[in-house]
Protein backbone atom coordinates (compact mmCIF):
# COMPACT_ATOMS: atom_id res chain seq x y z
CA UNK A 1 0.00 0.00 0.00
CA UNK A 2 1.77 3.15 -1.15
CA UNK A 3 0.96 6.79 -1.61
CA UNK A 4 1.99 9.19 -4.34
CA UNK A 5 2.54 12.54 -2.63
CA UNK A 6 2.33 15.57 -4.89
CA UNK A 7 4.02 18.80 -3.81
CA UNK A 8 3.50 21.97 -5.84
CA UNK A 9 5.05 24.69 -3.67
CA UNK A 10 8.59 25.99 -3.35
CA UNK A 11 10.10 24.69 -0.11
CA UNK A 12 11.69 28.11 0.44
CA UNK A 13 8.39 29.87 1.09
CA UNK A 14 6.16 27.05 2.28
CA UNK A 15 6.38 24.12 4.67
CA UNK A 16 4.54 21.71 2.34
CA UNK A 17 7.56 19.73 1.17
CA UNK A 18 8.96 19.22 4.66
CA UNK A 19 5.52 18.39 6.03
CA UNK A 20 5.06 15.87 3.23
CA UNK A 21 8.46 14.30 3.84
CA UNK A 22 7.66 14.04 7.55
CA UNK A 23 4.53 12.02 6.75
CA UNK A 24 6.00 9.73 4.08
CA UNK A 25 6.07 6.00 4.62
CA UNK A 26 8.58 3.56 3.24
CA UNK A 27 7.67 2.70 -0.34
CA UNK A 28 5.90 6.00 -1.03
CA UNK A 29 6.78 8.32 -3.90
CA UNK A 30 6.97 12.12 -3.93
CA UNK A 31 6.39 14.03 -7.16
CA UNK A 32 7.48 17.67 -7.33
CA UNK A 33 5.37 19.73 -9.74
CA UNK A 34 4.83 23.44 -10.50
CA UNK A 35 6.84 25.55 -8.00
CA UNK A 36 7.49 22.34 -6.06
CA UNK A 37 10.29 21.53 -8.53
CA UNK A 38 12.57 23.99 -6.69
CA UNK A 39 12.74 21.35 -3.96
CA UNK A 40 14.88 19.25 -6.34
CA UNK A 41 17.71 21.81 -6.52
CA UNK A 42 21.02 20.42 -5.34
CA UNK A 43 22.95 22.39 -2.75
CA UNK A 44 19.83 23.95 -1.23
CA UNK A 45 18.92 24.02 2.46
CA UNK A 46 16.33 21.31 1.88
CA UNK A 47 18.60 18.93 -0.04
CA UNK A 48 19.44 16.97 3.09
CA UNK A 49 15.76 16.51 3.99
CA UNK A 50 14.98 15.39 0.44
CA UNK A 51 17.83 12.89 0.24
CA UNK A 52 17.26 11.45 3.70
CA UNK A 53 13.49 11.12 3.33
CA UNK A 54 12.06 7.88 4.77
CA UNK A 55 13.78 4.74 3.44
CA UNK A 56 12.92 3.71 -0.09
CA UNK A 57 10.91 6.86 -0.85
CA UNK A 58 11.49 7.84 -4.47
CA UNK A 59 11.50 11.50 -5.41
CA UNK A 60 10.40 12.56 -8.88
CA UNK A 61 10.30 15.92 -10.60
CA UNK A 62 7.96 16.88 -13.43
CA UNK A 63 10.32 17.63 -16.32
CA UNK A 64 8.26 20.30 -18.03
CA UNK A 65 7.96 22.32 -14.83
CA UNK A 66 11.70 22.05 -14.12
CA UNK A 67 12.61 23.07 -17.67
CA UNK A 68 10.17 25.98 -17.61
CA UNK A 69 11.97 27.32 -14.56
CA UNK A 70 15.43 26.87 -16.04
CA UNK A 71 16.43 24.03 -13.74
CA UNK A 72 18.93 22.13 -15.86
CA UNK A 73 19.25 18.39 -15.11
CA UNK A 74 22.77 18.93 -13.70
CA UNK A 75 21.37 21.38 -11.12
CA UNK A 76 19.08 18.73 -9.66
CA UNK A 77 19.80 16.36 -6.80
CA UNK A 78 21.24 13.20 -8.35
CA UNK A 79 18.69 10.81 -6.86
CA UNK A 80 15.68 12.80 -8.10
CA UNK A 81 14.14 11.18 -11.17
CA UNK A 82 12.67 13.34 -13.95
CA UNK A 83 9.30 12.26 -15.39
CA UNK A 84 6.96 13.65 -18.03
CA UNK A 85 3.17 13.80 -17.79
CA UNK A 86 3.00 10.18 -18.96
CA UNK A 87 5.32 9.21 -16.09
CA UNK A 88 3.09 11.24 -13.76
CA UNK A 89 0.10 9.17 -14.95
CA UNK A 90 2.03 5.93 -14.36
CA UNK A 91 2.96 7.02 -10.82
CA UNK A 92 -0.71 7.68 -10.03
CA UNK A 93 -1.74 4.30 -11.45
CA UNK A 94 1.02 2.43 -9.59
CA UNK A 95 0.23 4.00 -6.20
CA UNK A 96 -2.77 3.08 -4.10
CA UNK A 97 -3.76 6.71 -3.55
CA UNK A 98 -2.52 10.23 -4.18
CA UNK A 99 -2.19 13.00 -1.64
CA UNK A 100 -1.70 16.56 -2.82
CA UNK A 101 0.07 18.76 -0.30
CA UNK A 102 -1.87 21.88 -1.22
Amino acid sequence: MSTLHIVNKSPFGHGSLLSCINHCKSGDAVLLIEDGVYGALSGSVVEHAVTTCAPSVSIYVLEGDAQARGLAPEKLIGTVKPVGYDGFVDLVAESDRTQSWL
Binding site: N8, E34, V89, V92, S95, R97
Partner: protein
Protein backbone atom coordinates in the same frame (compact mmCIF):
# COMPACT_ATOMS: atom_id res chain seq x y z
CA UNK B 1 -8.06 2.67 -14.67
CA UNK B 2 -10.52 5.43 -13.77
CA UNK B 3 -9.09 8.75 -12.62
CA UNK B 4 -11.06 11.52 -10.94
CA UNK B 5 -9.51 14.98 -11.13
CA UNK B 6 -10.12 18.10 -9.04
CA UNK B 7 -9.09 21.62 -10.11
CA UNK B 8 -9.27 24.07 -7.24
CA UNK B 9 -7.43 27.21 -8.37
CA UNK B 10 -8.31 29.87 -10.90
CA UNK B 11 -6.91 30.00 -14.42
CA UNK B 12 -3.97 32.28 -15.31
CA UNK B 13 -3.32 33.13 -11.65
CA UNK B 14 -2.30 29.59 -10.80
CA UNK B 15 -0.86 26.75 -12.85
CA UNK B 16 -3.30 24.16 -11.46
CA UNK B 17 -5.78 24.26 -14.37
CA UNK B 18 -2.90 23.86 -16.87
CA UNK B 19 -1.24 21.00 -14.99
CA UNK B 20 -4.58 19.22 -14.64
CA UNK B 21 -5.22 19.65 -18.37
CA UNK B 22 -1.88 18.12 -19.36
CA UNK B 23 -2.36 15.33 -16.83
CA UNK B 24 -5.84 14.45 -18.10
CA UNK B 25 -4.64 14.46 -21.73
CA UNK B 26 -1.72 12.18 -20.84
CA UNK B 27 -4.00 9.83 -18.87
CA UNK B 28 -6.45 9.55 -21.78
CA UNK B 29 -3.57 9.02 -24.23
CA UNK B 30 -2.42 6.10 -22.11
CA UNK B 31 -5.82 4.48 -22.29
CA UNK B 32 -7.10 5.46 -18.85
CA UNK B 33 -10.57 6.85 -18.29
CA UNK B 34 -11.28 10.24 -16.77
CA UNK B 35 -15.01 10.10 -16.13
CA UNK B 36 -15.17 13.48 -14.44
CA UNK B 37 -13.20 16.63 -13.68
CA UNK B 38 -14.53 18.64 -10.76
CA UNK B 39 -13.88 22.39 -10.48
CA UNK B 40 -13.92 23.80 -6.97
CA UNK B 41 -12.78 26.90 -5.05
CA UNK B 42 -11.47 29.46 -7.61
CA UNK B 43 -11.15 26.57 -10.06
CA UNK B 44 -14.76 27.31 -11.05
CA UNK B 45 -13.47 30.41 -12.87
CA UNK B 46 -12.06 28.16 -15.60
CA UNK B 47 -15.63 27.67 -16.84
CA UNK B 48 -16.45 31.26 -17.84
CA UNK B 49 -17.08 31.59 -21.55
CA UNK B 50 -16.30 35.32 -21.36
CA UNK B 51 -12.57 34.91 -20.94
CA UNK B 52 -10.60 36.60 -23.73
CA UNK B 53 -6.87 35.97 -23.29
CA UNK B 54 -4.38 37.56 -25.73
CA UNK B 55 -4.16 35.58 -28.96
CA UNK B 56 -0.63 34.34 -28.35
CA UNK B 57 -1.65 32.84 -25.00
CA UNK B 58 -3.29 29.52 -24.30
CA UNK B 59 -7.05 29.65 -23.91
CA UNK B 60 -7.61 27.56 -20.81
CA UNK B 61 -11.41 27.37 -21.00
CA UNK B 62 -11.36 26.54 -24.72
CA UNK B 63 -8.75 23.84 -24.18
CA UNK B 64 -10.99 22.16 -21.62
CA UNK B 65 -14.13 22.58 -23.71
CA UNK B 66 -12.43 21.04 -26.75
CA UNK B 67 -10.98 18.16 -24.76
CA UNK B 68 -14.39 17.51 -23.24
CA UNK B 69 -16.01 17.48 -26.67
CA UNK B 70 -13.38 15.18 -28.16
CA UNK B 71 -13.16 12.74 -25.25
CA UNK B 72 -16.60 12.99 -23.69
CA UNK B 73 -15.38 14.39 -20.38
CA UNK B 74 -17.85 15.43 -17.71
CA UNK B 75 -16.66 18.85 -16.52
CA UNK B 76 -18.55 19.67 -13.33
CA UNK B 77 -18.47 23.10 -11.72
CA UNK B 78 -19.42 23.25 -8.04
CA UNK B 79 -22.62 25.24 -7.73
CA UNK B 80 -21.93 26.71 -4.28
CA UNK B 81 -18.42 27.85 -5.24
CA UNK B 82 -19.68 29.10 -8.63
CA UNK B 83 -22.53 31.19 -7.24
CA UNK B 84 -20.20 32.91 -4.77
CA UNK B 85 -17.95 33.87 -7.65
CA UNK B 86 -20.58 34.97 -10.16
CA UNK B 87 -20.65 31.96 -12.47
CA UNK B 88 -24.15 31.02 -13.57
CA UNK B 89 -25.63 28.78 -16.22
CA UNK B 90 -28.82 29.83 -18.01
CA UNK B 91 -31.11 28.01 -15.58
CA UNK B 92 -29.42 29.41 -12.51
CA UNK B 93 -29.34 32.94 -13.97
CA UNK B 94 -33.08 32.79 -14.50
CA UNK B 95 -33.72 31.33 -11.07
CA UNK B 96 -31.60 34.03 -9.40
CA UNK B 97 -33.08 36.82 -11.51
CA UNK B 98 -29.76 37.70 -13.17
CA UNK B 99 -29.56 39.18 -16.65
CA UNK B 100 -26.73 37.03 -17.94
CA UNK B 101 -25.14 33.63 -17.74
CA UNK B 102 -21.55 32.74 -18.47
CA UNK B 103 -20.88 29.01 -18.33
CA UNK B 104 -18.95 27.74 -21.33
CA UNK B 105 -19.97 24.81 -23.48
CA UNK B 106 -18.79 21.48 -22.10
CA UNK B 107 -19.11 22.52 -18.47
CA UNK B 108 -22.11 21.88 -16.28
CA UNK B 109 -22.99 23.23 -12.86
CA UNK B 110 -23.86 20.74 -10.17
CA UNK B 111 -23.54 20.02 -6.47
CA UNK B 112 -20.66 18.96 -4.27
CA UNK B 113 -22.17 15.48 -4.17
CA UNK B 114 -20.64 15.01 -7.62
CA UNK B 115 -17.19 15.34 -6.05
CA UNK B 116 -17.89 12.66 -3.46
CA UNK B 117 -19.50 10.44 -6.08
CA UNK B 118 -16.38 10.82 -8.22
CA UNK B 119 -14.26 9.70 -5.25
CA UNK B 120 -16.46 6.64 -4.82
CA UNK B 121 -16.63 5.69 -8.48
CA UNK B 122 -13.04 6.20 -9.60
CA UNK B 123 -9.89 4.23 -8.79
CA UNK B 124 -7.72 7.27 -8.09
CA UNK B 125 -8.32 10.94 -7.32
CA UNK B 126 -5.78 13.61 -8.14
CA UNK B 127 -6.18 17.15 -6.81
CA UNK B 128 -4.63 20.21 -8.43
CA UNK B 129 -4.76 23.47 -6.54
CA UNK B 130 -2.85 25.71 -4.19
Amino acid sequence: MKFGVVVSEGPYTHQAADTAYHFVKAALDKGHEVPRVFFYHDGVNVSTRLSVPPQDERHIQKNWTELAKKKGLDLVVCIAAAQRRGLLDANEAQRQGKDADNIAEGFRISGLGQLIEMGIQTDRMVMFGD
